[in-house]
Symmetry: C2
Amino acid sequence: MTSKPLHASQTLFPVADGCLQVGGIALPRLAQRVGSTPFYAYDRALLSARVAHVRRHLPQEIALHYSMKANPMPALVQHMAGLVDGIDVASGGELKVALDTGTDPSRISFAGPGKRGAELLQAVAAGACVHAESERELRALAQIRQETGIAPRLVLRINPDFELKGSGMRMGGGAKQFGIDAEDAPRVLGLAAELGLEVLGFHIFSGSQSLKAEAIIQAQAQTLELARRLAAASADPVRILNLGGGFGIPYFPGEQALDLAPIGAALAAALPQVREALPQARLSIELGRYLVGEAGVYVARVIERKVSRGQVFLVTDGGLHHHLAASGNFGQVIRKNYPVAIGNRMDQPAGTPVSVVGPLCTPLDLLADQMALPDAEAGDLVVVFQSGAYGRSASPQDFLSHPEAVEVLV
Amino acid sequence: MTSKPLHASQTLFPVADGCLQVGGIALPRLAQRVGSTPFYAYDRALLSARVAHVRRHLPQEIALHYSMKANPMPALVQHMAGLVDGIDVASGGELKVALDTGTDPSRISFAGPGKRGAELLQAVAAGACVHAESERELRALAQIRQETGIAPRLVLRINPDFELKGSGMRMGGGAKQFGIDAEDAPRVLGLAAELGLEVLGFHIFSGSQSLKAEAIIQAQAQTLELARRLAAASADPVRILNLGGGFGIPYFPGEQALDLAPIGAALAAALPQVREALPQARLSIELGRYLVGEAGVYVARVIERKVSRGQVFLVTDGGLHHHLAASGNFGQVIRKNYPVAIGNRMDQPAGTPVSVVGPLCTPLDLLADQMALPDAEAGDLVVVFQSGAYGRSASPQDFLSHPEAVEVLV
């Protein structure tokens, strides 16, 4: 058993009197304050600390954007807006939330395949950057310009000719629905010029959820190299260069936190050359999961402790319908446990291994499979860590018509 | 290529003038009537025909229940309520919808692990059958009886000591959060008597989504045998016996429709013995997916046809956020394509293989991977068949804040 890989230890949230503290509030009291379980709680101080951590490691001149698809809760986006240099949105719906924060629209960028005409118009009218993913979007923007007289703020999203190695999600390299193939970019740049559209720069996203600094360093070097090639093909100077994201967080046993120091050092070393090649470019990195994922917990209450054929189940009021990713049904090939704890028994030793399940009539509704947790009973609070990103919004809330999970920022 | 397994042919929805007809309406006109894409459309006539099909094959005295967790759209549940003998619900939220249809509450049954106190009270107050899954629920019901003076309609859900073989979802056999272990039932029956609770009968659910008649026949025989053993241990005569469901529908290449004839014949042959052993029992089968799954389609509009490195993508306005199961992220280990068509080009031959993707910024947003479909372009309507069950309600609607999918019953 000692050789079994373990979850990275969860030390961000302090413990006092055996209770996890979220936003400085003991979990049982926070549950009372929320008024119902299950809920998601996001910790403001941890969000701020994480942004500061990234800034400490990355060169100062690299702008930091929050990719709000990771967590679109309006209060959280508002908090992040006060900390970062821009917000990346993935739909007209997200654009509305980002604009409501008061963020300078020119620091809001809208990427995503298949943008509808109404969404493109929204973005142009707002003055947000549109990251065009295809020739069609360029033509639609030219049309909007003609109809409205507003010059779109246009960035080309590029499907690079490499990928972020070992990433959880490959989003570049090969044939993809995302962006304009790098080798096709010169032709599309020509088309933009023909359509009278100024191209402000490029967005090069090669992957996400990587825990390997070397892989990120390599992808960033390739990204900068590709940007230099693209700049050479562009009639307009590069003013915006979005290097993508890709910073992962540890979810599963054996995974370790990403070390930002070498990434920051490599970027700093590369900057003088970039400055020379792209003197007018504002460089940015977009992070979603990395900024918010570790600052959030999902909390469900144990309804009953049940034994079936010798196996112990903690049946809770929360489950897959609120937290699809923790159930293992969101892009995972092999189901693994998220880090889980009993939030009001943090000082107690592990007892009998238990499976934490939800109230749904399906065996998929599994939050923890045979985990060694302190012995819990009805009323106790199960905590799923690493739940600040791709949690509530990425889950089928309506499934089986149970109450929705409340979200709080504390 | 000829040896590759194919999807079962989709012949339920007629085709006229190259267009799929849903509810007797040509798809482009239906899209106009709905007013927006994407949408789910469920065909009333097909729902009715499917219920009639089941009734034709099963012995008349077996009641047919609709398990509404498969599709909780209120108008559809209302339609089903007029066709079936009862409705099975999985939450207090579903109970509300079932009651609103005017169904006799005694024909509504509520199963599911971890029922909250408020839900149990709702069900008792309504006069619905509560399928107790644990000793805790028995005690809670006794308490409610004491506080309200209302006698609960109590059925014990049993975790059988066997499972439905080859089923998509094993819900019985082994250690489970569902029901009372069969071998523990005598003790729990004793407890019910002690608490002064009458036990109306048993609910024995061994699995779902099976396409093998033999496996279902075997599970039903085991279920009836188990019911006889349970009856012998019960102080009360068995009035209700829910045999579960388990009837599957073909989703993926190579799968064939389930043949009900042998299942009906086996049940008919078993009935005389059951009548003798359980003379007062109302037998029922609960079906969700089997009744509604094939009667529904998901329809999304092509935003653009895009070529990346030689591969063709149809980027649509619909995707994973509306139809998680079709994207392969709902309990599937290996992603396979649902049957997909271009609903306004039904008479055209297959062209270049394409991947149908949605508007989300994730490679998981894939509705069809490299399928041979008629050459489609912007404005065309992509149809995902077999989408009447576990579609909209089982999907993360809020993911990336795109518009919701409308649902219509036509």
